[in-house]
């Protein structure tokens, strides 16, 4: 097995036993990034800095310092501010923006010893489900370069799948970690809202945004989550609850685990082959001793309309700071203040971002607030309640991550509603603020299909446990692009 197909746990073992150095491992990834530049996974590659950090990690290890992730090469979604490094959020608006500080996520992972290879491509300001709204062009799906990797954390997902980093950070506002994870055949976790600090993470929709790990295995995701989580005095929405040892329960048996299937997730719109994959995954969980039942989430159908009111509303305010005054893109020769605002924003933002700002500003405007924003918040509360009722009957919820596998580039760019419906299974988790993850569960027409596990608040450990046990029985997560035809062992 080549270096990039080793999990983080395995790489740490290799580094500790001296099989190879962090510098060698980093060099390996940097070479692969260059070889597979066509995938367009990275916006910025930090070669020099990465090698220097790797070298420092080797020295630290030689001196007996045992950092949790010492020398592990990862990538950050370009939505996380990195001190002294361009942080673009996939937008022309921030093409020239060098962040003067590190996001908490970046700082915590750095303190744990990771090597940052670079910043990954993404939909502009995380608005998109295909990575096609990026100012830096779309990322290609390593399983089929004519297809999208999903979005908005498409660069991170494709980079992990293609072996261009050991793991990556992502953010998930409506499915932006889980959907690309499903499309690229990797393991991605969106934690409970507030579990990971949002400080330094460029805001899309503040009440929905949540950072999370994207990795090859559930165990790797648990390790990264361990480092990324915890309260932060710089983010008042971060949760004070102590961070448990997420790996402690991974090997726990699933005997008696109550898994609920949300009826609506299987009702309409789910592609037949994908449904087949989900059914097979359910069978694996049953073999592992889980008890399957059906649960109703009566208001789940309202999640897309509610989301597409709340998220653009918050975004419309969050993106007001990009005005051409203090940083970022400014139009040439503005004739006056209004012209400066108008053209800087018209030229600096892409179509999808502008569309959402317009929708958001409209839904918040006088006379429409009650009909849209307030109503959407009421729906949000009903959806939260639905989940709480469901979690009285079951321990975790299971369903598809996406209605179908990765679609063709350009296929849905002209049809916004079809694009928005890509998030139909993931959005409710954001509205309710619940932890949810996608794990590889099979293939549909040679394209990866993900299964989604949703847990109750702060139950990241529970869904990681289920995911890990599933991954002990299956090898879908071990498949790499190019080895698609291998049969499952389970």
């Amino acid at each position: 097995m080549t270096l990039h197909e080793r999990s983080i746990i395995e790489q740490l073992d290799d580094l500790n036993t001296g099989k190879y150095s962090a510098v060698e491992l980093t060099r390996h990834y940097l070479d692969r990034i260059q070889q597979q530049e066509a995938l367009n996974c990275y916006i910025t590659v930090m070669e020099e800095k990465a090698l220097a950090t790797a070298n420092a990690a080797d020295t630290a290890r030689a001196e007996g310092h045992n950092h949790l992730l010492g020398g592990i090469p990862i990538a950050h979604k370009d939505i996380f501010c990195t001190k002294g490094i361009k942080t673009s959020a996939g937008s022309k608006m921030l093409d020239s923006f060098i962040a003067p500080y590190d996001a908490t996520v970046v700082a915590r992972l750095a303190a744990a010893g990771v090597v940052t290879l670079g910043k990954t491509n993404m939909d502009e300001f995380a608005m998109g489900s295909s990575n096609e709204t990026s100012f830096y062009g779309p990322v290609l799906n390593p399983w089929d370069p004519t297809r999208v990797p999903g979005g908005s954390s498409g660069g991170s997902a494709a980079a992990v799948a293609a072996g261009l980093c050991a793991a990556a950070t992502g953010t998930d506002t409506g499915g932006s970690i889980r959907q690309p994870s499903a499309h690229c055949g990797i393991t991605g976790l969106k934690p409970t809202y507030g579990r990971i600090s949002r400080w330094g993470m460029i805001a899309f929709a503040s009440s929905l945004d949540q950072a999370g790990p994207m990795a090859r295995t559930a165990e790797d995701a648990a390790l990264l989550l361990q480092v990324m989580s915890g309260s932060d005095s710089l983010d008042s929405t971060s949760l004070a609850d102590p961070v448990p040892d997420y790996r402690a329960d991974l090997s726990r048996s699933l005997e008696g685990l109550r898994i609920g299937l949300c009826e609506d997730f299987f009702a309409t719109g789910l592609e037949a082959d994908s449904e087949q994959v989900i059914q097979e995954a359910i069978a694996v969980f049953e073999q592992l001793g889980a008890k399957i039942s059906r649960v109703a989430l009566p208001h789940i159908a309202q999640s897309i309309p509610a989301y597409y009111v709340i998220a653009p509303a918050e975004a419309s305010a969050n993106l007001s700071r990009f005005d051409g005054i203090r940083f970022g893109y400014r139009c040439e020769n503005p004739s006056n203040l209004e012209d400066l605002y108008r053209r800087s924003r018209s030229e600096g933002f892409g179509e999808e971002v502008k569309r959402r700002i317009m929708i958001g500003a409209f839904t918040l405007s006088t006379g429409y607030y009650d009909a849209y924003y307030r109503k959407a918040q009421q729906i949000r509360r009903l959806i939260k309640n639905d989940f709480q009722t469901a979690f009285e009957q079951v321990d975790i919820l299971l369903g598809p991550t996406s209605p179908q596998p990765a679609f063709k580039l350009g296929e849905k760019t002209e049809d916004q509603v079809a694009m928005y419906l890509q998030d139909i299974y993931t959005i409710a988790g954001n509205l309710a603020g619940l932890p949810a993850m996608s794990i590889p569960a099979g293939f549909s027409s040679k394209l990866p299909v993900g299964v989604q596990l949703i847990g109750n608040y702060m139950q990241e450990g529970r869904i990681l446990n289920a995911a890990h046990q599933f991954q002990q029985q299956t090898d879908w997560h071990l498949r790499s692009p190019g080895s698609v035809d291998v049969e499952a062992k389970g």
Binding site: F80, C81, T87, A89, L94, F97, A99, P100, Y101, A103, R198, W199, G200, M201, I202, A203, A205, S206, S207, S233, L234, D235, S236, T237, A313, E314, S316, A317, L319, S320, R321, F322, D323, I325, R326, F327, L337, Y341, A361, L364, S365, T366, Y369, Y373
Partner: protein
Amino acid sequence: MTWETVIGLEIHVQLNTKSKIFSGASTEFGAPPNTQACAVDLGLPGVLPVVNAEVYPKAVAFGLGIGASISKISAFDRKNYFYPDLPKGYQITQMDQPIVLGGSVEIPLEDGTVKQVNITRAHLEEDAGKSLHEAFQQSTGIDLNRAGTPLLEIVSEPDMRSAKEAVAYAKYIHQLVTYLGISDGNMAEGSLRCDANVSIRPSGATEMGTRTETKNVNSFRFLEHAINFEVQRQQQVLESGGRIVQETRLFDPDRDETRPMRSKETAMDYRYFPEPDLLPVKIDEAFISEVKNSMPELPREKATRFADEYQLTQADAQVLASDPALANYFEATVQHCHDAKTAANWVRVELLGRMNRDNIHIKDLTLSAEQFGVLLSRISDRTISGKIAKNILDALWQGEAQSVDEFIEKNDLKQVSDSGSLDPLIEKIIADNPKQAEQYRQGKTKLLGFFVGQVMKETAGKANPQQVNELVRKKLS
């Protein structure tokens, strides 16, 4: 037709926290531009606000000071608008749940009556930066040092009926927030700024006229001028058959007039919505009583106490209680001279007179209340006359003296009340002025003053005037 003026004020008070309301940057006034603006104040991508907990007790103290109810939940909203000195493109404020709701204040007016002004609400928000339009050619400078300074916006009911009442109300609020120690009240540095909502209506009418809002008036004098200008203007418009346009206006102190800024037709839609970066905070009873217990005596309570405890007139008591620093100075002076009436009189006339003349605030006074008190006690124990005391006060004021007693000793200023040393002097003066002595004896008693004056002159003012009076009269009879 006679008109009635209707005024409501929105007063923005800067709270005197060390750091800003949502960031750790300093709120110190007067630093070089943009040196006190951190990543949060600049609205950089990815930053988040965290509420400075110091603002809660201050806002609650104000609420208790006006008898308002305190919101059980304190939550923030975003108010969206674009302006270069508003870095995020929205202001974090409290729309739905102001921390202070209701309440009222009683304002003493010049004619001795008391006017009740009701308060609608007071809410917390962040200040914007400053746009400097004059400093640069062809462009505007932005200073974000002020961005994020905590403000308490106090909104009154339209209860005031004249510019004078509005000014009296604004002064009262200024006094109250200074008293509570929640603001430095420094008007010149913008610590208290008023927006005046003004309308007029025919006397006796019950419906409100269309109002205009004059923004950002930062002195009491300007407030009076701005309102009076606006009343006159509206009257002229209405009397010439016109119609008042609901609009926002700016006061130009150089021209002493208000000018339209924007009308309601082009008014902004601020698109308020709950601030998702800040979770609502509970304000419980225990917290409120803690604030209540640590609140200082308020101006009205203090004035009443001064009148009772020190037997002062209402006017004296109100002046002395008007500023906490002045009140403390007065009470400390009394402690050292044990004569409240003299102390009240001297603080009002001599001390305030000199302070006004030299434009010095009580807080910046170098003369200690102790020395001031000692000075007054040297009058009551007849060591010196009032006239000499004033001279000594001048010396103390100029910094030419530190200790009253040493100064008296060194300059030999003790009152001469020993008749043994005065007798020969008086006899000599009478002998030197036989003509005047004769006239006095013939009934021209006014000349007594002449002889007393001569004695005082000879003794360089040290003689006790009363005693000299008696002695001269005796010698001439």
